[in-house]
């Protein structure tokens, strides 16, 4: 392998049922930054069936080229089918960097590819930069990620191998504003499938309950922890969220004890959120929770314990009883809004 042969920043543009996922746009935004530093191109790999007409969207979101694989074998995500197609693209085009969303698709496929390519892969990154390498004339990708349950940050490099690959946590990178005037190239790619390796068959897909809105998309979150106690406590949070036009979220404790569904969980093993407003009610603030919400624009915390770690990230901390303050705040907001 000659490192000099590897060029350009590739992004796996994930779609589900024909809908390009937000993480694809976030990756394009980051890839654009990296490629501009490197003086290279951003190339999106866009796989699926009946999706080609959306390639232009990826260009408008930052891609210079979109490699489209549009074939019935790729209608639904399956590890081997997708891995074969992406492997063949990477093998043919030799990118220096490949980024995937750290989703159940990206984290399923990227390690298989890393192994097939004998490439380095860094999981669930929250920061990406390119910096001059020790070896003259090269730039290395510096991928930073939380480890030890979010207690420590580690920056990983792959000085000797290419491509350098990372899965990137959804909700962390910033997407660009859509630019309808952006021009780019759309390239068709036809993989040669080894169908003898296709040994997993999709029987059916059971959709999750859509009535639960995605908290990672919310602008305002009212989030509850152990101090909320029970479902009744969460009704108070829901009333406040309704008044603010936001949604209710939860710490891990209240998911583990069955009070709230997993979809609502914020933190290392739940979702990463960065709303305009995060109101933390009765959440002590374990480091695993903080990892999922500390990038929120404004954090208000209400907790009885003035030593609760949540106050270390809160812009406004209130030592007090949420069961009294939250309903009073809801009533006060009703009046404010009426005026």
């Amino acid at each position: 392998m000659d490192k000099k042969d590897y060029k350009n920043v590739f992004v796996f543009a994930e779609q589900r049922e024909g809908v390009i996922q937000p993480v694809a746009f976030e990756l394009l935004g980051k890839a654009r930054d990296l490629a501009d530093v490197l003086g290279e191109k951003v190339v999106a790999m866009f796989l699926g069936y009946g999706i080609k007409n959306q390639a232009q969207t990826l260009i408008e979101m930052g891609a210079d080229e979109v490699i489209v694989v549009d074939t019935p074998e790729l209608k639904d995500y399956l590890s081997e089918q997708y891995s074969q197609a992406v492997y063949q693209i990477i093998d043919a085009r030799k990118p220096s960097i490949v980024l995937y969303g750290a989703t159940t698709i990206g984290r399923d496929m990227a390690p298989r590819l890393a192994c097939r390519l004998r490439a380095g892969l860094t999981a669930d990154c929250t920061k990406l930069e390119v910096k001059p390498a020790q070896e003259e004339g090269f730039m290395d990708l510096h991928s930073t990620r939380p480890a030890f349950g979010g207690n420590l940050m580690a920056t990983i490099v792959c000085p000797n191998t290419r491509p350098q690959m990372s899965t990137v946590r959804p909700g962390v990178m910033q997407k660009r504003e859509r630019d309808a005037a952006r021009q780019g190239v759309v390239t068709d790619f036809a993989p040669n499938f080894d169908t003898s390796k296709f040994r997993v068959r999709l029987v059916e897909t059971i959709k999750a309950d859509k009535s639960v809105a995605d908290i990672s998309e919310a602008k305002i979150l009212v989030s509850g922890g152990r101090g909320v106690h029970d479902k009744e406590g969460f009704n108070k949070l829901q009333a406040l969220a309704d008044q603010l036009g936001g949604q209710v979220a939860s710490s891990r404790a209240m998911v583990d004890n069955g009070v709230m569904p997993h979809e609502c969980q914020v933190g290392q093993t739940g979702k990463t959120v960065r709303p305009n407003l995060y109101i933390a009610c009765g959440i002590s603030g374990a480091i695993q929770h903080l990892a999922g919400m500390e990038e929120s624009d404004l954090i208000v915390a209400i907790n009885k314990d003035k030593f609760a770690p949540i106050f270390s990230v809160a812009d406004l901390g209130i030592v007090g009883d949420l069961h009294k303050i939250v309903p009073m705040l809801t009533e006060r907001l009703k009046k404010e809004m009426a005026e």
Binding site: E80, D108, A114, A123, F148, I220, A286, D315, L316, G317
Partner: protein
Amino acid sequence: MNIIVCLKQVPDTTEIKIDPVKGTLIREGVPSIMNPDDKGGLELALRMKDEFGAHVTVISMGPPQADVMLREAYAMGADRAILLSDRKFAGADTLATSYALSGLCRTLDYDLIIAGRQAIDGDTAQVGPELAEHLGLPQITYVADAKRLENGNLLVHKENEDSTQVLEVEGKCLLTVLASAFEPRYMSVAGIMEAYDKEVEVWSADKIDVEETKLGLAGSPTKVFQSFPKAMKAPGELHEVSEEEAVELIINKLKEKHII
């Protein structure tokens, strides 16, 4: 049916604290545990054993101390335990780790390999899929349910963010499972008694089918450039006031930030 279960001994990360002065991890007194997702994987294997009979071999790579965890697996119901332990494995990243494990798996007879989704110290979720790739096996990750069908295939539920995929897999395969889906059984009293008489086989690199250059630090494409404690942002205001005043403070802050 022969099942291999991959286990990792990890520090209990919920017990780790940061030294506020030095900014380093305080590891003293932090208990070592069987990684929760791996324990879920062992539980799945033992349920299969209960249901239709299976021979369950637990394997791990790590220092000699991992012996304790493998004895715990014996006490839960595992039939054989092998610890891959050799200085040649030191400094391995996920690719070199999965390569070493693949060398071990190749020397064993198996129909199914089960691993945890991810370990709570590294959180990479990479070793399982990489092991599957080294062995040329199909994989299903994020597994919440697995049943054997009449035709011998497995029917598996994969949990995605927005859906559950029901997948049928033919022949040998590797599953990575979620701890939340497989509440592990307790060790039995008889199991604990017996666990200390059973042998945990300790294998060195010579005993498995691998090329030495692909092991340990030398076989690892990723290198840790630096590690550091997470930067804490400057603390904001903290008020201990009456409820009425608290509501006022919040309202004023929301107005100041143009949220209302």
